[in-house]
Amino acid sequence: MRRTYLGEFEEIVLLMVAILDGEAYGVTINQEIEQQTGRKVTFGTVHNTLIRLEEKGFLSSQLGGATTERGGRRKRIFTVTVLGSKALQEIQQLRNDLWQLLPAHLQLNGL
């Protein structure tokens, strides 16, 4: 299977969408990243990454129903696609495999 390249930040965003499980949209992803990683990210970065991930086929999105909140404006809810979760799994698998290859003394010292 052809591996699609996934950037580091893209990986984090993709993970966050998976974590938020149906609650993922611009605001929550943004806040979650700041809370969990302590990184300050601008909204535009998240926004662009989401669009890029969707283009690559790792995410799908649909507009939620209108609510009375936020001026009645709809949210775009993101979910991870099969391809997305496969990609995440592959990365994890790859990391695990690589960890296994570490020389024993390094492994014991916890690097």
């Binding site: 949209y25 601008t42 909204f43 926004h47 662009n48």
Partner: protein, 883 residues
């Protein structure tokens, strides 16, 4: 993110507006919502300032160029726009829609063809006028010497002394020459007498300066000796039929000339229409005063001066030398300054006496701007009709959009259709223009048709014109068309956008009629002014007068015989002789009168040599004193008598400071160095047409200079009179060409440029109103079709035919009326400025405006009512059944 009931301030409006403006539309809604939520979070966290700052930063991060654009989920499959099948389709649809709306297509095509035809004609005219003398290889180095006299009047004469000094003493000058233009003369070859126009006396240098194609001979060989003459091919053929070189002819019954050179016919676009060039040496023999090459006096306005500068030398130092020359010789001449005038300016200088003709810049500008206006009117028609038609094509457009046609494709398609129409109109317009251009000599007095018309620049112009007009006419309809929403168009819910206030279409209609009405008003006033010129009493009787030239300046014996032989015929009433008639275009003689009584100590008087019965003949009345009598004829000015009797006119008397005309009698006056006594005062008359001021005149008997005979005939027997005069004249002057003229024709030629311009504006006004009416006709017929059902319902409910006609016509007539209100002051302003040029002019009366209003409203009414009456008379049963 918890939501609390507590009130949070909303993000700053201006920042949000930035987002709305710049953020891509596809993701605007969600981003707006997200940011508002984030703003609330930040506010709770750190307060309003922090929130505002973060909010602004975030907005920047989602505006171009930072933001990524979300691609639409499903990209429509777009067929290749230039696929052969699509191109075929475009043409098919264009053809169908043109055919379906035959009326509109016809109106558009006619309007555009008329407007473009005129524009193309004007392009040819303007190109021709600006091409004058640009074909000479040294055109940028050739200059005419222009000058001004001490009365501030521009004058054309350049004394030989100036040329002599320039060519021998001034560095930077390659060639300098005098060119003497001459009145038409008689050429006798064998027994045949020809009238020859465009005769010039020139030294070889003059022809070296200009680009002239020599068939035989060269400037130096052919114009060096007395008796030499150079002919152009056409004249040579006219005079000799076969080879003319070396042949001899008799010129003006005074001298024999031998053909020493032949040149190709000069192009039409030259200020030097050289047909017969006689060597300057011959001129010196004919007029011995020109033997002195160093003179600085004199003043024949057809004796002009030209120079060719050396490569790289500039005109400033030469202008300086010319100024000092004028200063040094100010006592010998009235000229106070000379300066160089580039050859390219010469054609547009109306102050000079032209060998060919002069074209003032303002006429060109007026013509060109009217041409632009006509194109504009035609484009307005197109825009109006195309916009209303576009609505009918709503479904086609919707279908195209549904099947994947993009906005760009629709715009392209519409521009393509416009281009087809515009370029067909250009073809028709060119045909029209090539017919129209043939009439320019009559209409405008210019010779464009003699020049080549279909040059490369014409095609470039036509192409550029097509592109510009297509863009101008197609832009708005294409925009409207491509903006249609497919769903609404398919649901048939498209209406003509009824805009509040003033719609674009009404504005355009008003604009059209403003232009047309301004043209109408200007035409009426122009025609009135010209009629005024022709009908106003000039102060002398001009009707039924025939003039013939008296060769040899009226040799006394021959003149007596001519008078006697004419008096034998009943058709001829009277004969008189003089230098000229009271008013004529040419042959003005001037003399500077120095007298302490004159305001500036001196003034230029016009000198008129008259026979004893001259004033009686022309019904010019005397205000004081007596006319000239037979006893005065012996005291000719030339005999140097001390007491030459003269008459002056009222204007001269006033300038001399006399109010009581009787007091002038017996006063002494010195003219041309001869002491004379005023014996009578003549009432003022207009000697130079009504465009010029009254001139002071002095009249003296001078049989040596009676160059013209004026013959009053019985107007009912014109033919017989002309025949008798011709027979008598040719028997007396067998070696001269007989060329009788009617005085009235000559006087009306004073106003030629006005008449030419008014002819052209008349044509423009007609075309303007035709195009405007065509457009109105189209609009009305569209509205009528749109409102067919409404009219049916109204009729069923009892509306009368006049009621419906009024209903349909009112709106359009209102527009024409508004146009009238706007056009009147514009036309008033324009004509007021135009008429200010004239001392004698018509008043701009209200009825002219009323008339033009009535004309245009009448035409509009006719146009509109034709369609609306047809609609109103329609059987409601039929109209309600439509669709």
């Amino acid at each position: 993110m918890k939501k609390t009931g507590q009130h949070t301030p909303s993000p700053p409006r201006w920042a949000e507006q930035l987002l709305i403006w710049f953020h891509p539309a596809e993701t605007l809604e969600e981003v707006q919502g997200d940011l508002e939520e984030l703003f609330a979070g930040w506010y709770k966290e750190r307060g309003i300032r922090y929130a505002g700052f973060k909010y602004f930063l975030s907005i920047l991060s989602v505006t171009p160029p930072f933001v990524r654009k979300r691609k639409p989920k499903h990209q429509y499959h777009q067929p290749f726009l230039m696929h052969p099948a699509m191109i075929q389709n475009y043409f098919k649809i264009a053809y169908r829609s043109l055919q379906k709306n035959r009326l509109y297509s016809f109106i558009n095509l006619t309007g555009l063809a008329l407007g473009l035809g005129v524009a193309i004609t004007l392009f040819w005219i303007v190109r021709f006028e600006y091409s004058f003398d640009n074909y000479h290889a040294n055109a940028d180095r050739i200059y005419r010497i222009a000058s001004t006299d001490k009365f501030g009047e521009p004058q054309s004469h350049v004394p030989q002394g100036v040329i002599k000094t320039l060519s021998t003493q001034v560095p930077g000058i390659e060639l300098a020459a005098n060119l003497q233009g001459s009145m038409p003369g008689s050429v006798k070859v064998g027994t045949k007498v020809f009238n020859q126009k465009n005769i010039f006396y020139a030294p070889p240098q003059m022809l070296e300066m200009l680009d002239i194609e020599w068939i035989e001979g060269s400037p130096k060989q052919s114009l060096g000796a007395p008796g030499n003459v150079v002919l152009d091919e056409e004249t040579a053929k006219k005079l000799f039929r076969d080879d003319a070189m070396g042949k001899t002819f008799r010129f003006d019954d005074t001298i024999d000339l031998t053909v020493s050179g032949i040149i190709k016919k000069v192009p039409a676009n030259t200020e030097f229409p050289l047909q017969m060039i006689i060597s300057r040496e011959t001129f010196k023999q004919l007029q011995p005063e020109f033997k002195n090459e160093n003179y600085f006096g004199g003043g024949d306005s057809m004796n002009q001066g030209f120079v060719l500068l050396k490569k790289g030398s500039s005109q400033q130092p030469i202008n300086k030398i010319l100024a000092s020359l004028a200063q040094r010789h100010k006592d010998e001449n009235t000229t106070t300054s000379y300066h160089l005038q580039p050859l390219s300016d010469m054609h547009f200088d109306t102050d000079k006496d032209a060998y060919n003709y002069s074209m003032p810049h303002w006429i060109i500008y007026t013509l060109a701007s009217i041409g632009l206006f006509l194109i504009f009117i035609a484009c307005i028609n197109f825009i109006n009709l195309a916009t209303v038609q576009a609505i009918q094509r709503g479904r086609e457009i919707a279908m195209r959009k549904v099947l994947g046609g993009g906005k760009g494709q629709l715009i392209g398609q519409f521009f393509g259709e416009t281009a087809i129409l515009v370029f067909s109109a250009i073809v028709l317009g060119s045909l029209l223009a090539s017919k129209l251009i043939e009439y320019t000599p009559q209409l405008l007095g210019i010779l464009v048709p003699k020049a080549e018309i279909w040059k490369i620049s014409t095609f470039i112009f036509l192409f550029a014109l097509g592109i510009v007009v297509t863009l101008l006419a197609g832009f708005y309809p294409a925009l409207v068309l491509s903006k249609f929403e497919p769903i609404r168009a398919l649901q048939n819910r498209l209406f003509i956008p009824v805009s509040k206030g003033i719609s674009l279409r009404s504005t355009l209609v008003v604009l059209q009629f403003v232009i047309a009405q301004v043209l109408i008003i200007c035409t009426i006033l122009g025609i009135k002014q010209i009629r005024y010129f022709q009908e106003k009493d000039l102060g002398f009787a001009k009707s039924a007068v025939i003039t013939v030239a008296m060769p040899d300046r009226g040799n006394n014996n021959l003149r007596e015989r001519f008078t006697r032989s004419l008096s034998g015929h009943n058709e001829i009433k009277a004969v008189t002789y003089g230098l000229t008639t009271p008013a004529s275009q040419r042959n003005h003689w001037w003399g500077v009168v120095k007298d302490a009584r004159l305001p500036n100590g001196e003034e230029t008087f016009r000198i008129q040599h008259v026979d004893t019965n001259y004033f009686n003949f022309f019904h010019i009345s005397l205000l004081a004193g007596r006319g000239l009598t037979a006893s005065d004829t012996t005291k000719d000015i030339r005999t140097g008598a001390e007491n030459t009797p003269i008459l002056i006119n009222e204007k001269a008397a006033k300038d001399l400071g006399y109010i009581d005309m009787n007091k002038v009698l017996g006063q002494r006056l010195e003219i041309w160095g001869v002491k004379s006594t005023v014996v009578g005062v003549v009432k003022n008359y207009h000697s130079e047409g009504l465009k010029s001021k009254l001139m002071p005149h002095v009249y003296l008997y001078g049989s040596w200079n009676f160059q013209l005979a004026s013959i009053r005939i019985d107007p009912t027997q014109k033919e017989a009179a002309l025949k008798h005069i011709g027979a008598e004249w040719t028997s007396l002057f067998p070696n001269h060409y007989y060329d009788p003229k009617f005085l009235e024709d000559e006087i009306s030629s004073f106003y030629e440029s006005e008449r030419n311009l008014s002819n052209f504006i008349k044509l423009f006004a007609c075309i303007g109103i035709i195009i405007g009416s065509l457009g109105l006709f189209g609009l009305v017929s569209f509205v009528v079709t749109q409102r067919t059902k409404e009219i049916g319902v109204r009729k069923v409910l009892g509306a009368t035919v006049p009621g419906i006609v009024t209903l349909l016509s009112r709106d359009f007539l209102k527009l024409v009326f508004i146009a009238f209100i706007i056009a009147s002051p514009l036309a008033y302003y324009a004509m007021n400025r135009f008429l200010q040029e004239y001392t004698y002019k018509i008043d701009i009366e209200a009825w002219v405006f009323v008339l033009s209003g009535v004309i245009s409203i009448g035409i509009a009414l006719m146009t509109v009512s034709f369609q609306s009456i047809k609609a109103a008379l329609m059987n409601p049963v039929k109209s309600l059944r439509t669709e």
